[in-house]
Symmetry: C2
Subunit: 378 residues, 2 copies
């Protein structure tokens, strides 16, 4: 069994580096998942998640699995076989929503947009008006393209048509202010490994009271026992009844991550993310990297960049590997249609800092300037 993991600066699309206080919190001796002391801490975690999501939803909790399970939880609870769903597809994660909804037996209507652009409110509204779907689902922060999707126009059209609105907040939570209640969102999910600076493995989720009523009124049982919100509410609600064994250590880490967010304040944190992204874009321009997304729709925590032609021609994966091996810096390649043509640089949570941007710029200037590469470990 190997034990020689290198130090990394994780500037890809996630996971980001974990804050040392979160690492220490996870390393505390275990208590039971039904221990009164743990249940009290879980109350605090759920309250802090409500503040961060901008909601008063009672059903707000850290699901015991990664963000893609959070996506599945939102869709399989709200959709029944033969229900209609309109999905906004602006990248890989919207695409994944279609696949998850199909597997739940739903009829999927896709509204697409070119990768790197935001969904068109009018196109979404037209599809919603035509289909009159049970659910409308889209991504707030599309991690495959770096686009920040305006939420309110689509959510409003969906609500007007009587649909439930599902929002992917995997990359936005704790990096952008969220307002689920004001936006009219019925179910949202996120991940801990992005702007929360915790390890991957948990998915904060939130369901509105209206969404919970919908689940209770289903004709058919939820296809997943593990993700059934009715059963999850037994443990994460007031009753604290055993459903599955909650991942105690991961939740101790999340509690510390949430504490860090509240100490900093969400406004300050959001501004820090914006500042780091601007510094990154300005620093990379002279090297021939151009932002994929127009300024109005750029995510602050994840910047997508068209690569200089010589980097594409030379094989971008080679340059990423050089960054990793020579400087310990991880950045992300493109996904789906954008593979080989763009990079995804994450400045998420603790990593959204001047010093990290400078480290990446230094390494890239060296590699692209043709200067002698430093020895490993520099």
């Amino acid at each position: 069994m190997r034990s020689d993991l290198p130090r990394r600066l994780l500037l890809g699309p996630g996971p980001s580096n974990v804050h040392p206080r979160v690492l220490r919190a996870m390393g505390r001796p275990l208590v039971g998942h039904l221990d009164p002391s743990f249940l009290a801490l879980l109350d605090d975690v759920q309250a802090a998640l409500r503040r961060l999501f901008g909601t008063e939803n009672a059903f707000t909790l850290p699901l015991s699995a990664p963000g893609s399970a959070g996506m599945e939880a939102c869709l399989v609870n709200l959709l029944e076989p033969d229900d209609d769903v309109v999905v906004g597809v602006a990248g890989v994660f919207g695409e994944r929503m279609c696949e998850v909804a199909r597997r739940a037996g739903a009829r999927v209507t896709r509204v697409e947009t070119e990768p790197g652009t935001a969904l068109d409110d009018a196109a979404m509204a037209a599809a919603i008006a035509e289909v009159r779907p049970r659910v409308v689902s889209f991504v707030h922060a599309e991690t495959s393209t770096g686009v920040c999707q305006p939420v309110e126009g689509i959510a409003c059209a969906a609500r007007d048509a009587g649909a439930f609105v599902v929002l992917d907040c995997v990359t936005s939570l704790a990096g952008l202010p969220l307002s689920l209640d004001a936006w009219g969102i019925d179910a949202a999910y996120s991940g801990t490994q992005k702007c929360l600076s915790c390890p991957p493995g948990l998915s904060p989720v939130s369901f509105s009271a209206r969404a919970i009523e919908r689940v209770q009124a289903r004709r058919t049982p939820v296809q997943s026992w593990f993700l059934d919100v009715g059963l999850l509410a037994g443990y994460f609600g007031g009753e604290r009844a055993y459903h599955h064994t909650a991942p105690v250590s991961a939740i101790l880490g999340l509690a510390e991550g949430l504490r860090l967010v509240e100490e900093e304040g969400m406004e300050t944190r959001a501004a820090r993310h914006r500042g780091a992204a601007e510094q990154l874009i300005e620093g990379l321009r002279p090297l021939g990297f151009e932002p994929l997304v127009d300024a109005a729709h750029r995510l602050p925590m994840l910047t997508t960049l068209r690569l200089p032609e010589h980097v594409v021609a030379d094989g971008e994966a080679k340059l990423r590997r050089a960054l990793l091996d020579r400087y310990g810096i991880e950045v992300g390649g493109g996904l789906g249609k954008l593979a080989g043509r763009i990079w995804r640089v994450g400045l998420m949570g603790e990593n959204a800092r001047v010093i990290n941007v400078e480290a990446l710029l230094f390494a890239l200037r060296r590699e692209l300037g043709g200067a002698r590469a430093p020895t490993p470990g520099v």
Copy 2:
């Protein structure tokens, strides 16, 4: 946000206390889930899980969710709508299998036995012969009753009838030697929070080549995208393609837990569990606690005990709470039909040691003997 968690000796049905080396491993700085160094470690983890499960199954991996998701993964991949499944129900976890299988659209035939007893080979074989099911599913170590189920008779009858065999090994893995291949098991799942002395949150699973072929030959897609073994194989197999973001820190902890098992050796570890259970039963007899399960079918890592009448009359939860509050010791109550009548005492992984048995006996003698209770923290 609270941060004042007490020290606990976790002698319930799980989680058990986490080994300090595992806690330290989880606290290491993060690397990416596609980092070459992490993928190499993941290779080692998968190889160690194969040894522990007693299998050469290529598809052997730590699923990114707790044991109940492992159960769901085994059943929803192997079952299609209208398939027949025979489930052995010897307690709460066999019951859960029925519910999960029903939600996958399968027709469930239950073979029951009284809680505290093992399934009857002949009854299982008769049901299998009658139903000719696609899948036969049962529990090796029934955590709700403390029964160790003999595996080979049922597995043999199932294989003879052309069925796939699913085995719950949540509580047995790393506490009892397992031999999936020799027993003829097609899909098995476990958890990390029992005899592996890791935190809850991961589910080691293993599928035979025959089971994987069955999944590939399905008429319908697997209902869960997150648990689809075809997609999981993309990341956990040779290709290492992105599916979901693996919980890196939890896997670093699991790697250390597996290293500890291999340093001790499985034979020694199993003997240590047996010795601790014997010591517990002998120590509790004079206090009026009698084992629920006959000696031939007792689990070494989880002992179920009928409570003395005065404890039942007085409310067993009160005594458990006294153990927790006055001595920091957690033991488990009964589940389902056995609630209020039995206790479940786990001596799992690192906790299966003389000193822990003595701590529990000391506390119980004090509480039941009517001696002055010590002040909190003693």
